[in-house]
Amino acid sequence: MAHDQPDVPDMVLTAREFLADLVPRLDGLDRYHALCTVYLLDIARRELDEWTHDDTPDDEHLRALTGASGETQPATVVADLCRAIRSGRFDADLAGLREALLEHVVAKVRVVKPSVLVPEHRSADAIPSGETRE
């Protein structure tokens, strides 16, 4: 779906950069495990290059909102939607647009930090037990 930036490859790269910078200041087992983690993150980055994503309900929802065809990429749909809102295309029903956008934002928050959602917006399996606060 049309998640925000940074995308997954960039998040993996960010973690890799941080760890690689940290390595010279670590000793012993910590240093060894940090180097191994850098190695694993490099593998993960290369494997991500092979991945393709299936459309999600949010992608379909945003396409329906803009009238885009099924082939239009999610990032293009988002940019088109921004232009349409700015042009005033949704002015006659801004409350309806707000409800549609809430659905889109809830889909993003379910991935980023589901614990902030009110109960009606949570899905049963949406809250991983290991969630941490950034």
Binding site: H3, D4, V78, V105, K113
Partner: protein
């Protein structure tokens, strides 16, 4: 806590050497700096605290250096921040004493030096630690009175703010920032549309702090000691400072206490009205809280921009990019009337 100079990274050690030369250039070669601390992990500044040893002058000082590249920062140039701080300080707004702005010969970039003030700034600690129980009771009254004093300053004394885009039209200025950071967000577009259509008529035009919120004040057990962070100062509607202070993001989890997590809006408004004699429009204040949420979302996009373009890559700024949707959620729920 002081740290030995050799415990700092190479970049910070370089800054310390330049700082030593900077103070000797002004106060003589016998001047020394000691007890150096790096005080912040801040998103837009580097802050160093140090003792300046010269005669009987109060020794503890602060060096504040800008770290956001000027080509995409929305912040006031440090020299202008210094001018606004000096005006506020001269009018009795509790603030760090301005000592001197940096100059090109200092080779320390843009920034300035002020007196240091001891105390606590961490919002959650201020909202929960029993040590600050008295300060909490006084906070909104003091904050309201402080804003009244700031807003009363003659605009002729802060002429450096006249040409700031935010002083001209704050909504237009923030749309321009949004364009610059190249990250299309339908919810931000919708919010701009809503703000444009629902905008209340402008009230008075005053000197705004621009970042008046829990976290930007140094607090002691007895109450507020100083107002910090002048990089967002501009001219505009006094309600902008109220809206930002009460924005949901600045309640630090205490969402049922809209005024900074300390209490209710009304206590804050009344303290200002009593000190200033000016009435505040409660309905218009809500518009400024919505604007505050948009502005906070956009600061997160600014940090993402620095990360994505490689100018300031960091895990914290990457997280800012993904956290933008959390603010969008607050924004939509507030506009739907489900969050207050």
């Amino acid at each position: 806590m002081a740290a030995a100079a050799e415990s700092f990274d190479e970049e910070t050690q370089d800054v310390i050497e330049r700082l030593r030369a900077c103070v000797r250039r002004r106060f003589g070669t016998a001047t020394a700096i000691e007890r150096i601390d790096v005080a912040t992990l801040g998103g837009s500044n580097r802050t160093l605290l140090f003792d300046l040893l010269r005669g009987t002058y109060p020794p503890r000082q602060v060096l504040r250096q800008e770290t956001v590249p000027p080509d995409y920062t929305p912040f006031l140039a440090p020299r202008d921040q210094y001018a606004v701080l000096a005006a506020a300080y001269a009018h009795g707004v509790p603030a760090p004493e301005p000592i001197f702005p940096l100059e090109a010969a200092d080779e320390l970039g843009e920034g300035y030096i002020t007196g240091a003030i001891a105390g606590e700034t961490l919002p959650k600690r201020l909202l929960t630690d029993p040590r600050y129980a008295t300060a909490r009771l006084r906070y909104l009254g003091q904050a309201g009175a402080m804003l009244a004093r700031l807003h009363a300053i003659d605009l002729a004394e802060v002429g450096v703010l006249t040409d700031v885009p935010e002083s001209d039209d704050v909504l237009t200025a923030w749309r321009a920032h949004y364009e610059r950071w190249e990250e299309p967000h339908p919810t931000i577009e919708y919010a701009f549309r809503w703000l444009e259509r629902e905008r209340p008529p402008a009230a008075r035009r005053v000197l705004l702090h621009g970042d008046f919120r829990n976290g930007n004040m140094i607090v002691g057990e007895e109450g507020i000691r100083a107002l910090l962070d002048w990089e967002c100062a501009h001219l505009g509607d006094p309600l902008e400072d109220f809206g930002w202070f009460c924005t949901r993001s600045w309640r630090f989890g205490f969402v049922d206490r809209p005024a900074g997590g300390f209490g209710q809006r009304e206590e804050f408004y009344r303290a200002y009205e009593a000190a200033s004699g000016a009435a505040l429009d409660r309905a218009a204040a809500r518009w400024w809280e919505i604007f505050g949420l948009v502005r906070w979302a956009l600061y997160n996009l600014m940090q993402l921009y620095g990360h994505r373009t490689g100018r300031r890559r960091s895990p914290a700024f990457a997280a800012c990019g993904r956290n933008t949707c959390l603010i969008e959620y607050d924004l939509l729920m507030t506009l739907a009337g489900k969050f207050d």
